[in-house]
Symmetry: C2
Subunit: 453 residues, 2 copies
């Protein structure tokens, strides 16, 4: 792997191990002939300085001697790069600037009581980068001074408490991975509105590692009276005065957290910094942000937010209330609406599955609109009330295809089709749509959102 190349009368070290586009073509051509020395020849071609205007050949700043023999090397292979800590907090590549959370134009009258959707079609694995976590604000977000923030625990407790952040962070701490999904996620699809992308159909969904104190610990410190039926009211400090009832059945298990940490660092301001309630499996509105108060009572509080909003309009005109657990659901994120397959051949179909009841047990994938199903591979870890990433291979033959995923959780519940869901729920709801999503791959490779009847 070393050698010298004679060039323009000078003996120069060859830029080893690098191929420009001409070299790449040479590799393919020579490999096709089965020649064993193709690599050496390809390097020689690259070094000869005869590269065409190809993708790999690019102008390069002089690095001192203007050596024509290495003019085809990219700057990053010859120059000195950026120093460490140019920013004590790093950012994504400039080439990824298009990967953003986005507001749906016209969805809400104001941008303070609105939503931004996570770009699911561009994400990998199960962790949502905090910078791309979906947002749902009821009166805009704030960056609250944590030294001035307090959490009160009161109601049916013997010794009401008011905690500072410092006090909370000294208490027993747990860290857990959980998804959060807005109860209205995929809501537009009730009306058969073919929202174009997975970002807008399913993007009110994110997943993080949360760190905080179990709420049961705080209630016990306050001498909570836990005999008999009990409910907790959680209240936020922002102007929307968000209040939600949380049943003690979830709290007793220790899984409801008063969280200050998310994905390794403090919560982000848009996610309720410095304190947010984490209610695994339950719709996002109950994960009260800017949490300032916990009250223990003996019946559901029936607040405005839970009597008027996040209720399910049923076919008979009545509203279902307190249907807050997010049922088992999944979505294929690639290929998905707005993406394009450039040619036939092998593709990795990937997506996300989750259940507010526990772990995902199985995900089946169909490429023919639900006639045939194959079981996808689940990436580990598979965790309770957490996103699960699935992958399955597919060879596209270039003809139209309809791609679907169908998840099952460890209670045995199977994600319904739209036909099955509508038989129970009708068509006029906004919330809690967990039906199977269909993406149509057209013959030209374009992928579109379709709803099968």
């Amino acid at each position: 792997m070393s050698g010298n190349i004679q060039q323009t009368g000078q003996v120069r070290k060859a830029p080893e191990n690098f191929l420009d586009a001409q070299g790449v073509r040479a590799v393919f051509a020579e490999a096709g002939k089965g020649r064993r020395d193709f690599i050496r020849n390809a390097f020689a071609a690259a070094v000869a300085g005869t590269a065409t205007s190809s993708a790999l050949a690019q102008p390069r700043p002089a690095v001192g001697d203007g050596d024509p023999a290495i003019l085809n090397l990219p700057a990053h292979s010859t120059g000195l790069g950026q120093p460490v800590v140019t920013d004590g907090y790093g950012k994504p590549s400039k080439y990824e600037a298009n990967v953003q959370r986005r507001q749906s134009p016209g969805l809400t009258p104001t941008a303070q009581a609105s939503v931004s959707f996570a770009p699911l079609q561009s994400l990998f694995g199960i962790v949502t980068p905090s910078g791309l976590h979906f947002e749902r604000h009821h009166q805009g977000w704030w960056d609250i001074d944590p030294s001035k923030h307090r959490l009160m625990v009161n109601g049916m407790v013997k010794a009401p408490k008011v905690f500072t952040l410092d006090e909370l962070m000294r208490l027993p701490s747990v860290s857990r991975f959980h998804f959060i999904e807005c109860g209205a996620n995929t809501g537009m699809e009730w009306g058969n509105v073919a929202v174009p992308t997975a970002q807008y159909t399913h993007g009110m969904l994110s997943c993080s590692e949360f760190t905080g104190v179990p709420l049961i610990t705080l209630l016990e410190m306050a001498g909570a009276d836990l005999k008999g039926e009990r409910f907790v009211l959680a209240e936020g400090a922002d102007g929307s005065s968000m209040t939600r009832t949380i049943p003690m059945s979830l709290i007793r298990s220790g899984e409801v957290l008063v969280a200050y940490g998310q994905n390794g660092e403090m919560l982000r301001p848009e996610q309720g910094y410095p304190l947010r309630l984490v209610v695994p499996g339950v719709q996002g509105v109950s994960w009260v942000k800017y949490l300032r108060r916990i009250e223990l009572g003996d019946q559901p509080y029936g607040t405005k937010d839970e009597n008027v909003h996040y209720v399910d309009l049923m076919p008979d005109g009545q509203h279902r209330q307190y249907t807050s657990i997010q049922e088992c659901k999944s979505v294929v994120t690639t290929p998905s609406g707005g993406q394009m397959l450039l040619d036939k051949g092998f593709y990795n179909i990937t997506g996300l599955a989750w259940s507010g009841r526990g772990k995902v047990k199985r995900v089946d994938v169909s490429v023919d609109g639900g006639r045939n199903w194959r079981t996808a591979r689940l990436e580990s870890p598979v965790l309770s009330k957490c996103l699960t990433r699935f992958n399955i291979d597919w060879v596209w033959d270039g003809t139209p295809a309809i791609i679907q995923s169908r998840a099952m959780d460890d209670t045995g519940y199977v994600q319904p089709s739209y036909k099955q869901l509508r038989a129970v729920r009708g068509t006029r709801s906004i919330y809690h749509n967990n039906a199977i999503q269909s993406w149509q791959v057209q013959a030209n490779g374009e992928v579109a959102n379709v709803q099968l009847s």
Copy 2:
């Protein structure tokens, strides 16, 4: 939960459920007396507008009517907050600006061949935020155009391949959580240099969810000749021409990845965007960034980077080579050097444990310099070759204490003391220090790095 307060001759809606500092004091005082109506009184006090210059009371912009009854409410409880998507990619709170990765002054002559350390003492759980991931550059970092980047697979293969990013991202994909630790992490401690904080003692350590293609898949596609002893050379595209030998024993298991994804999004430029080798359990230098070439051979390559650097100077003056697996290790991150305990009482001791051989099986914690040990609680999930978060309770009595953690992995290996490590390795090494870390809590609450003989 509703009521009216008579004030300055007007009937006004009370700002319910909010307490200023005076209210907080009232709650404590009244709760001490066991009175059942203390909350109502506390609210009344808060509303009366007599708050002192306390932590909770703060100036508030007018919200329209200049109502003196609600002047004590913080702006975020009365005003309209920030709209969604003010930035399509979010940032941490301004109050967390001090949580940064940091360069150690004077550690290296240039900032292009240097290190920034992750702020372990400020992090939670196991996921390292990508913006705080430690950096180690050998010739600076680059933001490489992914459309122009190529990966070649050559050497002892029947059909050498050159892949574009698009081609790699169509292949079977896996997502896994793994730690990455620089082989030189905790290196200063060999010389008994009491580096002040966990950031500088152990901060060349991070953990992410990586997504990519198993390297074995690419080798199989290229028709790799895998009979007999085989090694892979991995080569980076930056100016340092980093080259490392990877044994096939790790690759055959499928765990070595050609990764493009990290924590849900594309790799960051400082971490090798658009392609990095992920070699679970192995020191970070082998996780070649800006990966451009994989060569299959039949013996270790013995490159400069592995013959001169990252070798262990032993007591007899010889160097140990290819000791690349990061042995079982742990560190308490809170309380740790540079932090301060403000008073006696309950604290949550927390830290990280990891092993390049597999899963962490147990972590024991001592608060008396190793005389007595208690077993800490491990947060789930506990994953192979991944950070594991541990927590344990502690009641500090205000006297000096020495806090240590000792990890054991599922091979039965136990993290050594400095005495045990030095008996084998001497004192002159730089790399692969996995000894037990000691933090001394002084009587005034200050925490310092100490090394027990």
